[in-house]
Structure formats: C-alpha cells, structure tokens
C-alpha cells in the first residue's frame, strides 16, 4: 500500500510537469487549431537557457533564492521569445494554409530546433547544477515525500492557478477565450487577434520554460533531444483532458503522470513510452473530445 502511495506521489510530481507543458499545447490549439509540435523543443531550449543562465550567475557555487528565481525568469523569457519568433516566422504566414501544410511546417520547426540544438549545444548531455539539495520532508511508513517534489507540485499549482485567474478574470484572458471560440467573430468585435495569438504563445512557451527548469532541478541531465518525449506525452495529456480546455490540460497531465509511473512501477519500464500512446489511442477511440472537452459537431 505504501508503495502505491509512493508511486502516486511520484506520479503527481511528473503529472504537474506534463500539465504545465500541456497547457502550452492546449492554449495554442485553442486559438489556432494547430498542434504546435515544436512546443516540446521550446521546453528543451528553456532547460538549456536555464543551464547557461545558472552558469552565468554562478548559481552552483552560491545558491540563493534570488538566483533560482532569476534562472526561472530567464528561462521563461527565452522560451517566450522563442515562441514569438516561431509564431511570427512560421505559423503566421501559414494561417490560411491547409492544415497539412502547417502540420508539416510545425514538424519542420521541431526537427530544426532539435538538430540545431545538437549542433549548438553539442549532443552530449549537460548537467544542470543541483542547487536544491534533496531533503526528505515526510518519511513515514515507507512513503517518502521530498522537498523537490513538493516544490515541483507547488510551483506548478501556483502557475496553473495564476493562469486560470488570468484567463477568467482579466480582459486579455477574456479576449483569449473569445479568439479560441471564434477567431473571425472576435476580430469583428474589435479584438486584436494577432496580438492575442502572440500573447498565447508567450504564455504557453513561458510555462514550458518553467516546467523545464523544474525538471532540470530534479533530473540533472539535459540534452537537446530531451523535449521530444515529454512534448508528445504532454500533447497526449492535453488531448486526454480535452484539447483547448485549460482545466482539462491540468487534469490530463496529472492522469498521464500517474499512469506512466504506475506502468513503470508495476509493469515494466520498457513500456514507459508506449503507455502514453496507448492512452492516446484509447481516448481518441472512445472520447475524442477528451475528458472535459465538449463535442462540437462537424459542420458541413
């Protein structure tokens, strides 16, 4: 039983990460109806940005709260900029193009980032300074809750709460919801859709950057291809929760994380990646609109 709870805790920690990345996917899909394949690689760039930032700030030698905060902010900023560049450079010119073309372009951006990353950063893994020493907070009955896990879950929940507040309570948030509902009608109502779309990318990418730093702080190894699998799994999480639906992305992320940890723990670690796809296919077969999604009928 205690092992189950332990796995559950691990699963929730991972789930929060997937949730953060999934939010980026789901928001972009909501406004653009586009699956941003490059999102996982933006996450990767965030990790590297944080790596270089921490080197520049000398965090490893003098870990301070301010320093860690700066690393987070720098990573989120870099990711946000990258997101804007991708959006303006590649997705915006293709707004009217058929879906296939945009999809292939997105795959192209993803491949480009991965391979350019391998060229620029070198394909060998780097080690992110482990500035937060691992400490067991609660250790009872075989269940260990570390401070790292608490931090991951805590910061993720904080960011998600902030996002939810932003979407629901601010004018820009309302504009984002309007654009994802019907872009043309929104522009008729006087909403600057291009800017809103850019803001969506900024927020989504920044969240991915935050997720990257959270992961890097707990799993030190970072390498240019690290974004592929989390990217795909986060996408599955977004679909699971209902793509375009923000609470859905959070829920989906949690379920994905828990499911993956359970499969690895109880079945076999070789099926770790396959479980994500299995979940995807199951959900697409039985409830394609996702757990929290709404079914929009097919218009002729």
């Amino acid at each position: 039983m205690s092992e189950f709870i332990q796995q559950l805790i691990n699963g929730i920690a991972w789930g929060s990460i997937y949730a953060l990345i999934a939010l980026g996917y789901t928001m972009v899909y909501g406004v653009l109806r586009l699956i941003n394949f490059a999102h996982g690689d933006v996450y990767m760039v965030g990790a590297f940005a944080g790596f270089f930032a921490s080197r520049w700030l000398g965090i490893a030698q003098k870990p301070t709260f301010l320093g860690i905060l700066l690393v987070f902010l720098i990573s989120m900023l870099v990711c946000a900029c990258l997101g804007v560049i991708i959006e303006r450079g590649v997705y915006k010119p293709l707004r009217k193009a058929p879906r296939l073309t945009v999809l292939i372009a997105a795959i192209g951006v993803s491949l480009f980032l991965e391979n350019a990353g391998q060229l620029i950063f070198g394909a060998d893994p780097k080690f992110f300074p482990q500035i937060i020493p691992k400490k067991d907070l609660i250790s009872s009955g075989g269940v260990i809750l570390t401070n790292q896990q608490t931090m991951v879950v805590g910061i993720s929940l904080l960011l998600m709460a902030l996002l939810q507040l932003f979407i629901m309570r601010t004018k820009t948030g309302k504009a984002m919801r309007a654009v994802s509902f019907n872009r043309e009608a929104a522009s008729l109502m006087g909403i600057a859709t291009d800017n809103i779309i850019t803001i969506t990318f900024v927020i989504g990418s920044a969240l991915a950057g935050a997720a990257a730093i959270l992961v890097a702080l707990t799993n030190p190894k970072i390498e240019p291809l690290m974004g592929i699998m989390p990217g795909i799994k986060a996408f599955v999480a977004a679909v699971l929760g209902g793509i375009g639906n923000i609470p859905g992305a959070m829920l989906g992320g949690m379920i994905m994380g828990i499911a993956e940890v359970m499969v690895v723990g109880y079945l076999s670690s070789t099926y770790r990646d396959a479980i994500a796809f299995a979940i995807l296919i199951l959900i697409l077969l039985f409830k394609p609109s996702g757990l929290l999604g709404a079914f929009t009928g097919e218009k002729v």
Partner: protein, 331 residues
Amino acid sequence: MKNKKIKRILGLILVLGFLLLVNYYLPSRINPYLFQIIILCGINIMLAVSLNLINGFTGQFSIGHAGFMAIGGYSSAAFTYYLGSGLIKSLSSVVMFGWLAKSIVFVFALFLGGSLAALAGLVVGIPSLRLKGDYLAIATLGFGEIIRVIILNIDAVGAARGFVDIPGYTNLFWVLFFMLLTIVTVRNLVYSTHGRAFLSVREDEVAAEAMGINTTYYKVNAFVIGAFFAGIAGGLFGHYLLYLHTNSFTFMKSIEVIIMVVLGGMGSITGSILAAIILTILPEFLRVVKDYRMVIYSFTLIVLMLTRPQGIFGVEKFSFKKIRNVFLRKV
C-alpha cells in the same frame, strides 16, 4: 482483343528479362557504394509511393509508416531465418533449381511481411475513421511507436540487440521488380474508379459520403495497401542489410518518408519517385556537412512549406500517354 493480351505478356517478359540482365551484369560493373545507393533508392521509392497513396491521394495524414516497414522487415526476416533454410532444402528436392527454391521462399517471405504489415494497416486504419487531420497524425505516430516498442520487446527477433544473421536474399532484380510493382499498382489504382474514390475522400469527405462513396472502406483500403508495400520494402531492407534494429524504424524514419512525399508533391507518383531518389542521394553529397544535414533538411522543410507546399511536382504526373501520342502522331 487477343492482340492486346499478347502484347501485354510480351511486354512483361521483356521487362523481366531486362531486370534479370541488369541484375546479372550491373553489380559487377559498378562500385559497391553506387550499388548500395541504387538499392536504397529502390526501397525508398517503394516507401514514398506507398505513403503517397495514403497521404497524397486519400488525404489521410499518416506518420507511422516506419511501423509498417518494421513489421514487414522483421516478420519476413524471422520467416527466412527460422523456417527459410528448411523450406529451401525441401523445395529443392521438388523444384529443379536451387535458385528457384530460394526465390520462391524469399518472395513468400516478402509477401508474408507485406501481409502482416497490411494487417497492421487495417488496425491503424480503422481508428482513423473517427479521427481527422492532426489527431490522425498523432494517432498514427503513436501506432508506429507502439509497434516499435512491441518489437523491441520480442526476444525471438533480437529485441534490443537487433536481429542478426538475416540471409541476404535481396538483389537488384527483386528490388527493381517490387519497386516497379509498387509503382504500377499504385498508379493503376489511382487512375481507376478506386482512385476517384480515394481522391474524393481527400477533397471533401462529407461530399463524398453524400455521393454514396463508402469513405470508411476507401480510407482503410488506402492504409492497407500502403502498408502492404511498405512491409515489402521493409523485407527487402532487412534482407539487404542482413541486420535489423528497431532504431531504424523510429518516427524519424516516418518523417523522412513524409519529407519525400511532401517534397515530391502529395498526389504525384512521379514526384514521390523523384523526391525519393533525390533524398537518398542527397545525404551522400551532404556527407561533407554531415553534422548539418538534419538542420538543412528541417530548415528546407519549413521553407518549402512557406513557399511551395505542393512540392516539386504538385499534382502533376508523368504520362506515358503523352509521350506515346507524340510518337503516334509522328507515325
């Protein structure tokens, strides 16, 4: 119409004879490096044309093609590895020539691989009915990965070590033969009633259904046929390299085939052939900048999508009829 039939059979014999001649004389005349490129070109053409049937003509976005190739490769290799030699021996006592027995077993193995891949195509195709566009893409990607992970866990075909000691039955004749078979089949399929149905599914599925076309049937059909030829390509691949590993069948491989189809023009068989050749040869030229190869590829893909998404040939085709008409007018 006996004349036509005789002409057809004669034509077939001529082509086969030509292929046999090429297979006999060519390998010794050219250096092995060039030979390898030709073989790989042939295999890539098969992959590109079969994928074009699914993606280009039927408009179903499938990025799991490497999975079909893997199934075809592994199953045919397993067949020849475990059952092959025994079968050849028993066949040799029935059939006169040893090479005939070998060929029969090889072709059977390839068809087995293709059929199993086609079965996988069926499994992948059926969920595709409920999925559109991006979702279908991810689902096929998922299937490709699941297939790969399953094969990775089967010990009898080498699991993580890879499948070694595959008998080397692939030669130029078989590669060219199956390549031509793929091209001719897909081409004939597309310029037939079936082909119209495929195209209608691509253009406007709702309208096609309204016209009474069973879109379900045709979508699954495209997957099954495309997968079949991908499976044969996989079989040829395995029996050429004499070694198989699941690392050759990741979604990167699927994406490479997609790039071929997109570059050549979705819906253009000629385009796929050309693009497959270009994209097989290009890495050799780019060997100088080997590290930059994938960066150049992906960048080219983005630029291609931004500037000319219909690829080199768009939806045009190379037509024998046009050429024949030119000759006939001259006569």
